[in-house]
């Protein structure tokens, strides 16, 4: 299999990775860079557990080839918090108990972050629409929506 050297920024850090042509962005993040926050739930772009931000847009990283991320700016769930603390969405999700098993938040939080970045005061329907591709089997979504609303309020 042909390999390619790619350069990209992941959570603010410049990375150079050699990847085979058929490797997905998700596999590269998890197996090459050790960033296991984004999850593999279906490998078909249907569950949203692998969602990461690519140049400011949420993408299913299982459907993006690593080589397509050449030059891109990627943010994973690990990049939401930094030395200054948690993202407001993470704080809100803790406060309202927006997670149960914890497998879907890495993807859902990224979709929600992308929403708030482009629309700081979304309506309930806009939140639902932004998160409809992030499946959750535990919470019934009630507190996930609540956490996004609360984070939006907190600015």
């Amino acid at each position: 299999m042909t390999t390619h050297k790619i350069a990209l920024t992941v959570n603010g850090i410049q990375e150079q990775v050699e990847v085979p042509s058929n490797m997905t962005l998700l596999t590269m993040l998890r197996e090459r860079l050790g960033l296991t926050g984004a999850k593999n739930g279906c490998a078909a772009g249907e569950c949203g557990a692998c969602t990461v931000m690519m140049n400011g847009e949420p993408v299913n990283s299982c459907l993006v080839l690593a080589v397509e991320a050449e030059g891109a700016e990627i943010v994973t769930v690990e990049g939401l918090s930094n030395e200054n603390g948690l993202d407001g969405l993470q704080e809100a999700m803790i406060e309202v108990t927006g997670t149960q098993c914890g497998f879907c938040p890495p993807g859902g939080l990224i979709s929600a972050r992308a929403l708030l970045d482009r629309n700081p005061s979304p309506s309930e329907d806009e939140i639902k629409d932004a998160l409809r591709g992030n499946l959750c089997r535990c919470t019934g979504y009630v507190r996930i929506l609540e956490s996004v609303k609360q984070a939006a309020k907190g600015g």
Binding site: T36, C101, I127, K128, N134, R137
Partner: protein
């Protein structure tokens, strides 16, 4: 087991909505799931060749081309399997020996240096099958003359409370006879009968099944598995390998959703057998999402026939139920679901005359297994719709009819035991009130119709009579506490509740407690399985016992040191205190290093370790002919859901406006988490009601992906969910607590169906209530009038 806390300046965490202990890890991506573990360059991958036929004989298997592929390390087939395994009925081999019984049955396993290569090698294995006639319907499968899936059923090892019918496809027959049903029908003024069907659905945890297995060179096995049952897996896998459970170590990190699918043993055994061929190498096997839909457990299908009669006052007199379970190719776990259905056959009603036959039927369908509710959502689907019709025929309000007939403390259950204290009436009243029951409300548009419905439920933990829990409480040098448990954090919040119980019993602050994790059968104390909504109750009792044991040791030490009586001492706010002498000593000064004797002649005490266990000792056997016995189960959690919905008569689309849930949980150790279970349960229940159906065409699953098998997303949730807690303590629960995890999705389907009937006068007997099905039923109804 109420605890006397004499001077509570530190508030007890019991009954407090303490935040989840694992939330920070889970929102930062730090929480470790099994697939996140790194195994280095030795890691190999396993893939499974599966049967394309629902029923066939394996005539020839040739893997020579697969084995010739560079990078392929090993092959496993049925020839490598020694003994059959199973939880209640040992009816399956890890890999098929001579016969395949469902589409997806494992035929061969390939170990290779990558998943892709293993998959490629699987396609090179040549298998010749002789196709056999399949059994695709449980009612037909139960008849004499149906093709037999397990001709050797009578040789299988079986638990004493399971009754296989030799020479048939019935792997368990549960029979219940109470009172005189035949004589009672003539006294009924109203009798309603009906047949109700429930299709297969899947649990759909967002984390697919995954196991990494490794044999070391001395033959010891380690499994890293996403598992609800590390100890049951250790035991069953050791049994199937013919080695001691002490040589099998199961390590289980956080579980990304289970709902029953990760209970018992399923794909874990495949990984173990593949790893056995390559000692020294960890072998990773993860199910694809497609495999997840039909190669792990599914919820069994059900055909139920229900007949209920009441007198003119609306008092229930008789009930007859017949359950044919579409239990799939292997029923090692499923047999107990059909038993649970039998002893719970009336739903939460006081019925003097009861007749029930519950048949677990082998079919050439995916393997049925435990799923949230363990048979209860399936049987309540028909029971609760029939109850509604009885009330309507009597001209009674559906809520009032349920209040009149529901189970109460002292009622006699179908198995003949006396009901413990509980308050289902309050659940009914509160759930109904929350959606303004009895108030007619307008629909939001001319092409929509609005309706309200109600359904009640009960469910007991279904498990062997002697399912045990244990816990170890260890003090650290600074007075903090490590709590060892064997129960799993599946998302239900068990760690947080475990910490609350330990903190409250030991009189230490919540932040002094750390739960020892992950579960590792080599170090963690025994826990039967994380199933049956039993952890808060059973593991909670074990933790409390362990904490009380540690507490006793500390009080005795301090009493000796101060020359006082332990009864005058207490633990409070991280200190041991004396009410008599008003002395106090921080725990950190004595729980590891002990205390010096006054005369410098030595020391007393030492590291404090408390041990505790809990096992119910009162569950009795039931008479196989009548299902009667002193006590069938440990307890029942009852509850009620009420639904306010709109249906679009032009599309058949149902919109849930309000869903209220009220459950008697005995005592909510953490009310916020109890409410979270109710919210999540409603949506999983609504999803299985409105959207889900694993479609099997001639045994072939045709929709094993999220596009064709939709589960509820944000746009499908009810507009409003209202969770309500009712608390009548359980006599042997910690602080009176009972389980709630599964219960919250049990009555959802019939509550929605009853609301639909209220809205448009349609009674639909099949699930799901998809827009298509509702629309067609509306059209047919219109054509008929």
């Amino acid at each position: 087991m109420a605890e006397k806390m004499k001077s509570p300046s530190v508030p007890s965490p019991i009954g407090e909505s303490v935040p989840r202990l694992d939330a920070l890890q889970k929102v930062t991506g730090e929480a470790v799931f099994t697939d996140d573990l790194q195994f280095g360059a030795d890691l190999l991958y396993g893939r499974i060749l599966r049967s394309p036929h629902p029923h066939a004989r394996i005539k020839r298997l040739d893997a020579s081309k697969a084995l010739a592929l560079p990078g392929v390390k090993a092959l496993v087939t049925g020839d490598d399997c020694k003994d059959r395994f199973g939880l209640y009925l040992k009816d399956r081999y890890t890999f098929c020996k001579d016969r395949v019984r469902y589409v997806g049955d494992p035929v061969a396993g390939i170990v290779a240096t990558s998943e892709r290569l293993a998959e490629q090698a699987c396609r090179l294995v040549e298998v010749e099958y002789e196709v056999l006639e399949p059994v695709l319907d449980p009612v037909q499968g139960a008849q004499d003359g149906a093709p037999l899936l397990h001709p050797n059923l009578k040789e299988y090892i079986v638990a004493p409370f399971i009754f296989p019918q030799h020479g048939s496809n019935i792997s368990n027959y549960f029979k219940l006879r109470k009172g005189d049903v035949e004589g009672a029908w003539s006294k009924c003024n109203v009798i309603v009968e009906g047949a109700y069907r429930v299709p297969h659905v899947q649990h759909v945890p967002i984390e697919p099944h995954i196991t990494v297995a490794k044999f070391d060179h001395s033959g010891n096995v380690t499994l890293w598995a996403s598992s609800q049952s590390p100890f049951a897996q250790r035991d069953l896998i050791a049994g199937s390998l013919g080695i001691s459970p002490n040589r099998v170590r199961v390590i289980s990190s956080f579980v990304g959703g289970g709902f029953g699918s990760k209970a018992g043993v399923s794909m874990e055994a495949l990984a173990v057998m593949m790893a056995q061929k390559v000692p020294g190498h960890p072998v990773k096997v993860r199910l694809t999402r497609e495999e997840e839909f039909y190669c792990s457990f599914v919820r069994q299908g059900l055909v139920s026939n229900i007949k209920i009669g009441a007198d003119e006052d609306g008092t229930l007199l008789a009930m007859q139920t017949e359950f044919y379970w579409d239990a799939g190719a292997y029923t090692e776990y499923g047999v107990n679901i059909t038993r649970a259905a039998g002893y719970s056959c009336t739903g939460p009603y006081d019925v003097p005359n009861v007749w029930s036959d519950s048949y677990c039927v082998y079919t050439n369908h995916p393997v049925g297994g435990p799923m949230r509710g363990f048979g209860m959502p399936e049987i309540h689907w028909g029971i609760e719709q029939t109850m509604d019709q009885v009330a309507q025929k009597l001209g009674m309000d559906e809520k009032e009819f349920r209040l009149k007939n529901c189970i109460r403390e002292g009622s006699i259950t179908p198995t003949g035991s006396k009901m413990h204290a509980l308050d289902l009436e309050s659940c009914i009243l509160k759930a109904a009130e929350a959606i303004d029951w009895g108030k007619q409300e307008p629909a939001s548009a001319p092409h929509k119709r609005r309706g309200k419905g109600i359904a009640i439920m009960w469910k007991a933990p279904a498990m062997p009579p002697n399912a045990g829990s244990s816990s170890i409480v260890r003090f650290n040098e600074d007075g903090t506490v490590s709590v060892g448990i064997g129960g799993q954090e599946l998302g239900q919040g068990s760690h947080t509740v475990a910490a609350q119980i330990a903190a409250a019993t030991l009189g230490v602050p919540m932040d002094s407690i750390r739960i020892s994790y992950p579960v590792d059968t080599q170090y963690s104390p025994y826990e039967w399985q994380t199933v049956a909504s039993r952890l808060t109750w059973s593991m909670g009792n074990a933790i409390r016992e362990a904490a009380l044991d540690a507490r006793r040791q500390i009080l005795e030490l301090a009493a000796e040191h101060w020359d006082e009586q332990p009864d005058d001492l207490d633990l409070h706010d991280g200190q041991v205190i004396s009410y008599k002498s008003e002395r106090s000593e921080p725990l950190k000064n004595l729980v590891v290093y002990g205390l010096p004797k006054e005369d410098d002649s030595g020391w007393r005490g030492g590291p404090i370790i408390g041990r505790g266990m809990f096992m119910p000792n009162y569950v009795s056997a039931l008479d196989p002919e009548t299902g009667q016995g002193p006590r069938a189960v440990v307890h029942f959690t009852p509850g009620c859901q009420a639904v306010d919905l709109e249906v679009d008569i032009e599309t058949g689309q149902i919109t849930l406006l309000r869903v209220s849930s009220a459950f008697d949980v005995g005592k909510a150790i953490n009310p916020d988490q109890v409410r979270a279970q109710m919210e999540g349960g409603v949506v999983q229940g609504a999803s299985t009601t409105l959207l889900e159906h694993l479609r099997l065409e001639n045994g072939v699953p045709v929709n094993p992906n999220f596009t064709d098998y939709r589960i509820a997303s944000t746009v499908d949730m009810p507009l409003k969910t209202i969770p309500i807690i009712v608390e009548v303590p359980q006599d042997d629960g910690p602080w009176g607590a009972r389980g709630i995890g599964e219960h919250s999705m049990v009555p959802t389907a019939p509550a929605i169906a009853n609301a639909l009937a209220d809205a448009v006068g349609l009674r639909i007997h099949d699930l799901p209530l998809s827009a298509e099905r509702v629309f067609k039923a509306l059209r047919d109804k219109e054509a008929a009038t």
